[in-house]
Symmetry: C2
Subunit: 199 residues, 2 copies
């Protein structure tokens, strides 16, 4: 917009990196931050820059955290016997809503040779080590029902075949091609309950 | 969420200051910024903090700008003869879409004695001075069709009664109680064209 000052235009553009925020709503966000809630905007700058500096990966499950271990790995009340493998941190939150009380392992992606994403990038060595060392009895594969997600689960299943653990995957109650993160809690709980042995 | 690290929770909370962003979408925004687009997040921190530092008000129309004068006041091709008075910067953008080629004056609010917002806070002295000194022939009042917005227009009309300018207000084609910013361009263009003398 020629009627906005250059610096405000740059801020608008920077805001369009947010998912679901187009040029029009980025404009509204920018004006809100500069005009209506400057103190909130300052707090946002501070928190985001602090989080970018300090947040890294949990040493155990790889989920995002600013500490050595995330709150879930740190929680002594949860069971080590079940380990749920997901692709992203958002999916941990989705599965938490079903009442699951085991542990997680976050891949941060899925196998995709074309994009150069192999087993090492997904931390699969670390996953294997966890399963062997931590008394895991069941590994629940909850990758997304996409071609690459399923291929990733298959790879993990083969990798763990020697270890003495039950390998399951969540039931296909989630729509094919969909993302776990957007599935309602009820459907996801059902899919989790209906999991079956990986074959 | 107990399953998110404290620092990530604080970031989620800081993000809920954004209009239209509830706890659920703030969570998604936070994970996106920390996981999927860290470079975009760094750019956003930089631009927002720069804008908060440098953006102030145009010396002439009071709109937001990091310069002395905003791009609209700086544009020699626009006419000084028409001055459109609006409540917020977002409404300048809305009226720009109708093809209006005059100047603006941004009140940043409306008269509201209960909230301690009087004429000085809206810069009405400055508005009067502009009208007298800059050869304005028509002042178009485009405050929102709310009780306070209309009272503000009335106050300005009385304030300018001595000056030799035509005072108009945009036609009531905009829904009562609505905010200009959300009205589609066509309706707004119609309302602008149908403006009538302030009586
Ligand atoms: Zn962890
Ligand atoms: Zn200006």
């Amino acid at each position: 917009m020629a009627s906005l000052s250059p610096l405000i235009n740059e801020l608008v553009e920077a805001l369009t990196i947010l998912p679901g925020v187009g040029p029009k709503s980025a404009q509204r966000l920018a004006l809100h931050l500069l005009e209506k809630d400057q103190s909130g905007a300052h707090r946002l700058v501070g928190m985001l820059s602090k989080a970018l500096d300090e947040v890294g990966h949990c040493k155990k499950c790889r989920n995002l955290t600013e500490k050595e271990y995330c709150p879930i790995c740190d929680d002594a009340k949860r069971t080590d016997e079940q380990l749920c493998v997901v692709e992203t941190p958002a999916e941990v939150l989705a599965i938490e809503q079903t009442g699951f009380k085991g542990r997680y392992f976050v891949l941060f992606g899925r196998l995709s040779p074309i994009d150069g994403i192999g087993p090492e990038k997904l931390g699969l060595d670390q996953l294997k080590q966890q399963v062997v060392e931590n008394g895991v009895k069941e590994v629940i594969l909850a990758t997304n029902p996409t071609v690459e997600g399923q291929a990733t689960s298959q790879y993990i299943q083969q990798m763990l075949q020697g270890s003495n653990v039950l390998i399951t995957r969540i039931a296909h109650g989630v729509p094919l091609g969909g993302e776990l993160e957007y599935v309602d809690g009820g459907t996801l709980a059902h899919a989790l309950a209906g999991r079956k042995a990986f074959d």
